[in-house]
């Protein structure tokens, strides 16, 4: 397969949306779309699978809750039970009302942080990471669609022009 891609720039989100739909309908392969802000419905139009990050957050939350229960059970019930203010630490269940705040806090703590870390890893964003948007204007007001070329440069160029692209560039895939 050729490693060439064609980059079509659009200056309006609605034009981009219809262009994405037309390109997909014409069975061209969209490599990537870069936008300056979230364009609603773009993921569906491109046929991207829904993200599973919310599910991971739920699992991380369960992990945090289990950790909180294990930690407080070990520290307050098993390792060093104390009688504080006439309220002895006998069983975890009997003492649980006093443990609820921290069970909640650790659930949120784990769910939030681990989900964000997963997001950063999956989307490859972290400090000192170099940005990969092909044109600096795609963080300002331009929308860029990258379509893979398979020996049909001429045809694709005229096709994309027809979809309302304002700039078209053929380049090696990076």
């Amino acid at each position: 397969m050729s490693s060439k891609v064609i980059q079509a720039m659009y200056n309006d989100d609605d034009v981009l949306m219809s262009a994405v739909k037309e390109t997909r309908a014409a069975h061209h392969h969209i490599e990537e779309v870069y936008t300056p802000f979230p364009v609603h419905g773009l993921d569906k139009a491109m046929g991207l699978a829904p993200t599973r990050l919310a599910i991971t957050a739920f699992i991380y939350g369960l992990l945090g809750l289990s950790f909180a229960i294990w930690m407080m059970n070990f520290m307050m019930i098993e390792d060093w039970p104390q009688n504080i203010g006439g309220k002895p630490n006998v069983t975890y269940f009997k003492n649980m009302p006093a443990f609820v705040p921290i069970m909640f806090e650790l659930t949120v703590f784990f769910a939030a942080h681990l989900m964000v870390i997963t997001f950063y890893m999956r989307s490859k964003i972290w400090p000192f990471k170099e940005a990969e948007n092909p044109d600096p204007r795609t963080t300002d007001d331009m929308f860029l669609m990258e379509v893979s070329v398979d020996g049909n440069e001429q045809e694709l160029t005229s096709f994309l022009k027809g979809t309302g692209a304002v700039e078209i560039k053929i380049t090696e895939k990076h």
């Binding site: 309006d12 034009v15 949306m17 990537e32 779309v33 870069y34 936008t35 300056p36 802000f37 979230p38 364009v39 609603h40 419905g41 993921d43 991207l48 993200t51 990050l53 919310a54 957050a57 520290m75 307050m76 390792d79 060093w80 104390q82 504080i84 203010g85 003492n95 006093a98 443990f99 705040p101 921290i102 909640f104 806090e105 650790l106 949120v108 703590f109 769910a111 939030a112 989900m115 964000v116 997001f119 950063y120 999956r122 989307s123 964003i125 400090p127 000192f128 990471k129 170099e130 940005a131 948007n133 600096p136 795609t138 963080t139 300002d140 007001d141 022009k161 309302g164 304002v166 700039e167």
Partner: protein, 578 residues
């Protein structure tokens, strides 16, 4: 195609004739520009206050907590008052960015960034107080459940003070990642605009290499939604737990079951007041009046009215229950006849006037949209909410169950100095933020521009005929509009040909298209319209005269008279010569 329709009755959230590019320029302007004299002046004052505070904290740590005005009866005073005050202020930021996101309130987008920044800076101030109150802050790590030299005597998980440690640290860290994740696309925008190498390097680092792929955005939106869902119960839990510090004790006036909801409402009340104080100033200084509009200010005033109302009901309940219980100790709690007439009557009435009476003025629409009055009320509420915590802590402690120990509290210069120091530190952080961070969530604002931007709304409301020319004779406009409506496709086509004939045609194979948006007054939509007519280059635009202007107007139907008014030909000539 996605519909951008929004009911015309909803007031626009972005005013002025803004395109996507204009939003970037306006948000980047305070960062790319130079600080003015006023900024340096305010920064200087804040910095001196901060340094004074550091001095007072060093004195406290070096000498001991005895340098504060605490005594054997009143063993909590300004320190905890300030702690609760600052934590409360923080709550508005999370409410705006998380709760309003869940409710899909678009007006949050102009203010959420700064409100969240305020949250983080306020929680930093709050965290200072319990740590210095420990007396030996270098042992602060003892609050963590880690194995230690006492044969693993663990921290006490039954104690509300320890719950506080977990709640505040979770709150601070989760707010921070929520804020930073939202900042990534905006840092990326600044990075891609930056021309100085150093600036580019810094913003590349801060933006974590944000690229803006469709998949990234999909994940970004999901993460924002889930974080909002997590932050909403979190913010409620934080002030609930802060109120447990008091509610689980046996001190009359503290031992109160309505504290959790009442503290949360009070926190949001004071937090919104602080957001008003900061943003009314910032929109002026950073020229953001088009993004933080009077609608935003009025909406925040409505939240202040609601939460202020909840606080009022709580005060009345406390007063009534104290009296109804018939217990003599309850007659000296902070909301009682004893407090209203006793030695702390001035603090009692400060609370009532600042939190109950003055905010009532916001029921008047006229005052609610009055910026000067709003600013004044926000300051009054900030003071009032400080007094609420002072009253709860000091008045309740001053008259305990043993009459022989009754006493008053006298703050020392150290108490006052530390408080002023935290205010200074808060403003130092906020002022630095206002000059280095994108203070408006510009990516989010761009996503609502078509639905809530003034120009786009008007364009829709007037059936695609905005701006309407304000000519000397109204008659010609009417004629022009009817003319446009009656234009048949053939007539339009012939007009287009004659226009292109006089301007010169565009050959895609030899010429490259210019960015017509560089002409002031041309946005993305207008540029597209021009392209469909066949105008791609500055050279073509520069040839326009009155005849071509009117031809263009009659072909386009919309944007009547704009080309002539903005003198596109002259602009295009300048752009060619650049």
């Amino acid at each position: 195609m996605a519909s951008h329709y929004e009911a015309p009755i909803r007031e626009p959230l972005v005013i002025g004739d803004k395109s996507y590019h204009d939003v970037s320029v306006d948000v980047a302007a305070p960062i790319e520009g130079k600080a003015n004299k006023q900024w340096w002046m305010v920064f200087g004052i804040a910095l001196s206050a901060f340094i004074w505070g550091i001095g007072c904290i060093s004195y406290t740590i070096g000498t001991g907590i005895g340098v504060w005005g605490l005594n054997k009866t009143i063993n909590w005073a300004w320190d905890i008052t300030n702690f609760v005050w600052w934590v409360g202020i923080g709550h508005a930021g999370t409410l705006i960015s998380a709760v309003l996101l869940l409710f899909r309130q678009k007006w949050r987008m102009g203010i959420n960034r700064s409100a969240e920044a305020m949250t983080i800076f306020a929680v930093v101030q709050a965290g200072t107080f319990p740590i210095i109150h420990m007396g030996r802050p270098w042992l602060a790590y003892w609050v963590l459940p880690i194995p230690n030299q006492f044969g693993s005597l663990w921290v006490n998980f039954n104690s509300p003070l320890l719950w506080d440690v977990f709640a505040i640290s979770t709150y601070l860290s989760v707010s921070l990642v929520f804020w930073w994740t939202g900042l990534l696309p905006d840092f990326a925008m600044i990075r891609d605009r930056a021309t100085k190498p150093f600036q580019k390097k810094i913003y590349s680092l801060l933006s974590f290499g944000w690229t803006g792929r469709a998949k990234d955005w999909q994940r970004f939106e999901e993460v924002s939604l889930v974080l909002a869902g997590l932050a909403t119960p979190l913010v409620l839990s934080v002030h609930t737990i802060v109120s447990f510090d008091f509610a689980t004790s046996v001190v009359p006036g503290w031992h109160s079951t309505i504290f959790p909801p009442y503290f949360v409402a009070g926190a949001i009340f004071s937090g919104f007041a602080m957001v008003q104080t900061l943003l009314i100033t910032m929109r002026k200084v950073s020229n953001l009046e088009n993004y933080i509009t009077i609608v935003h200010i009025e909406n925040m005033n409505k939240v202040i009215l609601l939460t202020g109302g909840i606080v009022t009901v709580a005060y009345l309940t406390e007063y009534f229950i104290g009296w109804y219980s018939g217990i003599s100790y309850e007659n000296y709690t902070y909301l009682s006849f004893g407090a209203a007439t006793g030695p702390y009557a001035w603090a009692f009435w400060a609370l009532i006037i600042c939190n109950l009476i003055v905010p009532l003025s916001l029921w008047s629409k006229k005052l609610r949209v009055n910026i000067v009055w709003t600013f004044f009320v926000s300051i009054v509420i900030n003071i009032g909410m400080w007094f609420e915590r002072f009253d709860i802590i000091v008045i309740d402690l001053s008259k305990d169950r043993l009459t022989s120990t009754w006493t008053m509290f006298q703050p020392t210069f150290v108490d006052i100095g530390i408080f002023i120091g935290t205010i200074g530190f808060f403003f130092v952080l906020f002022l630095l933020y206002a000059r280095t961070f994108p203070v408006i969530a510009q990516a989010e604002v761009k996503s609502i521009l078509k639905s809530s931007g003034d120009n786009f709304k008007k364009h829709r409301d007037f059936g695609g005929k905005y701006p309407i020319e304000t000519p000397t004779s109204v008659k010609t406009v009417v004629q022009e509009t009817t003319e446009v409506v009656s234009d048949s496709p053939e007539e339009k086509a012939s007009k287009t040909t004659s226009l292109i004939d006089s301007l010169g045609s565009f050959d895609a194979s030899t010429d490259t298209a210019d960015d017509l948006k560089l002409i002031s007054g041309v946005g993305p939509i207008l540029e597209k319209t021009l392209n469909t007519i066949g105008i791609y280059k500055f050279e073509q635009v520069s040839k326009m005269t009155d005849k071509e202007y009117s031809l263009l107007d009659s072909i386009m139907g919309s944007f009547q008279g704009r080309a002539k008014r903005d003198n596109w030909a002259e602009q295009a000539k300048n752009l060619i010569n650049k």
